[in-house]
């Protein structure tokens, strides 16, 4: 249970970083932290105490193995996360070219 709470703390740090930090680069780092927190949560949910890797072998009884499905999913999510991070950084660069700043509060064209 403690590890889940620690994951929640990591998740909250990510949220805090996105909502409070003005610098776009810091926001992107917040997104990454958030993503890792979610990945970690999935992996933890698949883990069993004293479990072993789910490798099928002859003449061996399979007991107490960890769930392989979240592992596969997280592997995919990490790759996708890499792509989204690259996209975010690209957008941040274009923002800097256009406005000359990374401060998100200076970019106010949504003002009603």
């Amino acid at each position: 249970m403690d590890v889940y709470l620690l994951t929640l703390v990591l998740f909250s740090i990510g949220i805090y970083c996105i909502v409070r930090k003005r610098n776009v680069i810091k926001t992107i780092i917040g997104v990454i932290i958030l993503e890792y927190a979610v990945n970690l949560f999935f992996i933890l949910s698949a883990y069993r105490t004293e479990g072993r890797a789910p490798i099928f072998m002859q003449e061996e009884e399979i007991v107490n193995m960890v769930d392989p499905l979240p592992h596969a999913l997280v592997l995919t999510a990490i790759v996708i996360g890499l792509a989204t991070t690259a996209l975010l950084v690209g957008i941040a660069m274009r923002l800097y070219e256009k406005y000359g700043t990374f401060d998100i509060t200076k970019i106010k064209e949504l003002k009603g």
């Binding site: 996105i18 998100i104 509060t105 970019i107 106010k108 003002k111």
Partner: protein, 547 residues
């Protein structure tokens, strides 16, 4: 069940005849008044379309069909006001459209409630007692549409603005005659057929009527613009019609409907005459007018007749219908409540103030010394297409007053309401007219014998200065009632009225813009704030869905 879309009965035929008459007179008048303006083809097509839509509205029996024609009239009003040439015209047109369109939405709501209550939308098959809350709400929703169209308080504010900014022909055509006819027609249909009235609702209508009469006429007293002043009177007179229908007894209702007809006649006449003055002098500002009686004698006489008529001076038609409304009010005393004295005082007080403000108007426009602008104009009436309609309407004012029982009441009002109501008191228009004429002749003779022969005419004495050097040294009528602005509580009310506190449109606009301001403040353009709101919303969603 028989579900005919249209219905022809004597009330709608009577309405149809006068809608046609006013359209005809407006078109004749427009030949002179609108000469040389742009877009006349559109102008006349809109007038014809207004005629068709009005006839459709008064002859329709199905409420959905009725509301379609009604909405069409609101749009045509907007388009016709746009033919004015003042700077504020488009603002006024927008205001009229929003007030009328907004109440149309209320009417649709009322329609839905009627469907909910009865399952029928045929006017002649529905009869709802105003006992449940839903029925009262439905009645108020539908009546608000009638009030906005006729210009009763609190939906009156588009009428004075329209009167000032629209062309005089349109001011006479829509707010003064057709919209009054339709609004009061619908109120009468609602109150007499679709709903069965209760004493509470009757008192509500009478309160609206009395407040409208007195408040609008007080505003009219202090106006400085000819057409705007007439516009406030167009609001004030609606009070008598609502009051008459609110009495709930046959004579009062007949008086209200008769007053609606009379109002359309004399108010069109006044607007037409005012338009003739505007055409001649190029202004409607009372400070710049004066002494036009010698230049435009026909307009002066028609204006005077209509002014007497609206003030309720016998034997003109305004008196005949006001007298019936008064009788209706007195008859409500038999219900046992003592409130009738308030309505009666309000109605009579309003009538007296109307006369007072018309003394100011007639003095400022036609009598007194001519202003500099007027002196430059040469002698002569406006063209015949402009004075013929005013003469016809002035003649109708006299005929409907002197022969009130023989012509309009017998031919139009009583058949349409079914049955002759019982009159109280003695009133013979013919005898009264003879007595009044006799009284005026005797008074004139006494005046001639007594004072007129002894007076002498002399130059104005201004301490040796030349009067020609001081064109402001003349008494125009505009300052007549300025002192009432300084009296105690009236001072406060007038100041609030000038700030447009009582204007439902301005109040609504302020409320809407204030709400918008709150939303604008929340949309500060900073992404982080939006994210925080999203997070907050997600939290609420989770709490609602997962608790």
């Amino acid at each position: 069940m028989d579900a005919s879309l249209f219905r022809i009965d004597s009330l709608s035929i009577f309405m149809g005849i006068f809608i046609g008459l006013f359209t005809l007179l407006t078109i004749i008048y427009s030949f002179g008044y609108m000469k040389g303006r742009k877009g006349l083809l559109r102008y006349y097509s809109y007038i014809i379309l207004t005629l068709i839509a009005s006839l459709g509205a008064v002859f329709s029996n199905n409420l959905i069909l009725f509301i379609v024609f009604w909405g069409f009239l609101g749009m045509l009003l907007y388009l016709l006001i746009q033919f004015g040439w003042k700077e504020t015209t488009s603002y006024t047109a927008k205001k009229a459209l929003i007030i009328i369109g907004g109440t149309d939405a209320f009417m649709l709501l009322g329609l839905a409630l009627i469907w909910h209550l009865t399952g029928s939308l045929q006017m002649d098959q529905v009869s709802i007692g105003l006992t449940s809350k839903v029925a009262v709400i439905a009645y108020l929703c539908l009546a608000s549409g009638a009030f906005a169209k006729a210009g009763a308080m609190p939906f009156h504010t588009w009428v004075p603005d329209t009167a000032e900014d629209a062309p005089a022909s349109i001011a006479a055509f829509l707010p003064a005659s057709l919209d009054k006819l339709l609004g009061i027609y619908f109120l009468a249909r609602l109150s007499l057929e679709v709903f069965r009235m209760t004493p509470g609702i009757n008192v509500f209508l009478m309160v609206i009527g009395s407040v409208t009469i007195v408040a609008a006429v007080m505003m009219a007293l202090i106006q400085h613009d000819l057409k705007r002043l007439l516009g406030y009177h167009a609001v004030s007179q609606v009070g008598y019609m609502v009051l008459g229908i609110g009495t709930g007894n046959p004579i009062g209702i007949a008086g209200g409907v008769f007053h609606m007809l009379n109002h359309s006649i004399y108010k069109s006449c006044l607007f037409f005459s005012g338009g003739a003055v505007e055409k001649k002098t190029g202004t409607t500002n009372l400070d710049k007018l004066g002494g036009l009686a010698k230049i435009m004698p026909i307009t002066f006489i028609t204006f005077l007749i209509a002014a007497f008529s609206i003030s309720g001076v016998p034997p003109f038609n305004g008196f005949a219908s006001k007298w019936m409304v008064y009788q209706g009010i007195i008859k409500t005393a038999t219900n046992g409540s003592g409130l009738w004295i308030i309505w009666l005082v309000a109605a009579m007080f309003g009538s007296a103030l109307t006369l007072a403000s018309f003394m100011k108007l007639v003095h400022a426009v036609f009598l007194g010394q001519p202003s500099e602008e007027v002196k430059k104009k040469k002698q002569g009436e406006v063209g015949p297409s402009m004075w013929i309609p005013t003469v016809i309407l002035a003649a109708l004012c006299v005929i409907f007053g002197v022969f009130a029982y023989r012509v309009p009441l017998k031919m139009f009002i009583f058949p349409s309401l079914g049955g002759v109501p019982e009159f109280t008191g003695i009133w013979d228009p013919g005898l009264a007219t003879a007595l009044i004429v006799l009284g005026i002749v005797i008074g004139f003779v006494i005046y001639l014998m007594g004072t007129a022969l002894k007076t002498r005419t002399t130059e104005t004495f201004v301490l040796g200065e030349f009067i020609e050097d001081h064109p402001d040294m003349r008494l125009s009528g505009t300052d007549f009632y300025n002192t009432i602005k300084e009296i105690g509580i009236l001072k406060v009310i007038y100041r609030l009225a000038e700030k447009k506190v009582f204007d439902i449109y301005e109040v609504g606009a302020k409320a809407t813009l204030g709400f918008n301001g709150l939303l604008r403040y929340m949309h500060n353009g900073i992404l982080l704030t939006y994210l925080a709101w999203c997070l907050f919303g997600t939290g609420i969603l989770f709490w609602v869905l997962l608790r």
